[in-house]
Subunit: 367 residues, 2 copies
């Protein structure tokens, strides 16, 4: 077995402790259980001070000798065992793969350990919260989308990569970007710009915006995947780089911003290590249509779904600040939304040469 | 205006010739027209010898003085003009952006030049076939997904990038990969492996398969985008590298393979420069379940849509070869499909250490 780095050793130790607790209970004649924080909406709250969506303190016990719980109990240990094997072999894999790896037919029965992946995925989340380890620390990766360039050198799995020399392509951000995989080297970046859309990112890259402005530019191909969120969080926390988020002017764009900033309800237990509470929204704002003289024919009419999502947002505690209420209300009142590409009506490089520089110069952002 | 490279100059000249033809007609008192190859199913055929799906020879004329055609005529020139501007300014953009750039309200009317992008996209395709230029030569890009690593050095927009040192991330394949953007440098690659799924690609990258086997590995995040297809085509045509395609064992996987190999019906006019007629299918084959002893519980039941798509495929001229008929018939008869990840049931690195090496050693592929 290869020598484990300290981080991986910590993860395997956590899994072992979980198993040892169960063994002790069995030996002591007690009903073994695993204690798991409850991941339901009722146990999620917005921490106003830290500005993070977090799990509350409710916990549940999953017992082995309990008809309703025994199957999940068994599954928890199958997944734990597979993850321990992954960590110890220095390999990583997808949650789809893990499902196949742990899918067996039990003995002579026609029962499978897992019927579908929708049975194994929640077990992974259970394990994450039970032992307080990110999925990435269990060596499980999510889908990869998103590319990055900028004035920074990184080390990725032993390779030194200069993100100043990535041409038109950029470095594909992997899903696992923990410290033992990705290290930050020399950099001259002053901030990070996270763009919603790959096409808009391409405009920023082609115009060498990152060079002119000394910033790191990254996109997440829509809603940023875990790897991009975690990497942006690390750039913010470790290199103290401010993070600016540039999204469409629609409820989905605002949602993307809010997940980057304070995490999501579904993955509340990960906000601590994925969210960037001081991320700043630089647009598109609902007031940009007049500030930047966008012609009415580039507006898109909001449909009923858009309007009801925007109304819901008015009630979210993280959008309670006066300027956010004003922002969302303006979108609802106007009845229209705008894509980032609408700025191209003012010129192909308007977004990189005028729009964003002005926003940053005038400190025209929301927090 | 920056000096244009020969390729860009050729494109602008083609656009100018189109416009000049119209001007000459007007001056001569004739009704100006643009001649455009017909892009309908009736004008698409499979060229058995070249093994490509291609456009036939039917052409249509779009006249200016014709109530039904005038709007499209005007749009064709708006798009041509915007593309000429793009090429001359050395910039590229998305087809979404182009829609916004060319959307105007006409004079004092409430008429827009384009109402929605679904009006401008076909005009772009018209222009492509009318002047015989790839969309990429018009400086228009599509969405970017897909990453690549392997024993090759490339130059991308002036940056030299060693794809042997891309860590876990890889180089994000851009959408425009024409010779004036991407140049191939020194390489030791013996072949190209195109994998359907990013998660499976990550397995090949993590296991350093590309190093052990001296090959370039690339994925397209599902159906490969234009940039990946065009790049694989260039690697095949210019560096004479064989191309192997690894996809799920389902009708969608077979379809992905067939588009890579002989092009698609929708974009038949581009097959000549996008398709790889000698691409080889290395799996998953419908016979792999027995050859590689996959347990029955990793099979997925085909639904009615799968079965009818597979039946349609039996009739495609490019699947007429005996071995393909046998392959597809076996899928239909068994009623099940398999994902690439199902191989992980045999071990996490089974696919990179046993499955694919054996397939290549035994020349177990379909063409």
């Amino acid at each position: 077995m290869p020598r484990l780095d300290p981080r991986d050793r910590k993860t395997t130790e956590k899994i072992e402790r979980l198993a040892e607790g169960v063994l002790r209970a069995v030996k002591g004649g007690r009903n073994p259980f695993v204690e798991i924080p409850v991941r339901s909406l009722a146990n999620v709250r917005f921490d106003e001070k830290r500005r993070l969506i977090q799990l509350g303190s409710q916990r549940q016990r999953r017992y082995f000798f309990n008809v309703a719980m025994a199957r999940k109990f068994m599954q928890t240990f199958l997944v734990s065992d597979a993850c321990k094997e992954l960590v110890e072999s220095g390999k990583t894999t997808s949650i789809r793969d893990l499902y196949y790896m742990t899918k067996h037919t039990i003995g002579e029965t026609r029962q499978n350990t897992f019927e579908e992946q929708d049975e194994s995925d929640p077990i992974i989340e259970d394990l994450e919260v039970a032992i307080d380890a990110l999925r990435e620390e269990l060596h499980l990766f999510a889908s990869r989308k998103g590319t990055m360039v900028g004035p920074i050198t990184i080390r990725d799995s032993g390779d030194t990569i200069d993100l100043r020399r990535m041409g038109s392509g950029g470095w594909g951000v992997p899903s696992i970007v923990e410290e033992n995989v990705i290290e930050f080297g020399r950099h001259e970046a002053k901030y990070v710009l996270l763009v919603e859309k790959d096409a808009v990112w391409s405009r920023f890259n082609e115009d060498r915006f990152w060079k002119r402005q000394s910033c790191i530019i990254v996109h997440g191909g829509g809603q940023p995947p875990r790897g991009v969120r975690r990497l942006v969080r690390r750039l913010n926390a470790e290199l103290k780089l401010p993070v600016y988020v540039l999204v469409d002017n629609d409820p989905w764009g605002f949602y993307i911003y809010s997940v980057v900033k304070q995490g999501s309800i579904n993955l509340a237990y990960e906000s601590m290590r994925m969210a960037v509470p001081d991320a700043r929204f630089v647009g598109l704002s609902s007031f940009d249509k007049s500030a930047f003289r966008l012609p009415p024919n580039v507006a898109i009419k909001m449909d009923d779904g858009d309007v009801s999502r925007a109304r819901q947002m008015l009630a979210y505690p993280w959008f309670k600040a006066r300027q956010w209420q004003r922002e969302i209300q303006e979108m609802i009142d106007s009845g229209v939304k705008y894509e980032l590409e609408a700025l191209s009506r003012r010129g192909i490089s308007f977004i990189t040469e005028e729009y964003l520089p002005k926003k940053l110069r005038d400190r025209e952002w929301l927090e």
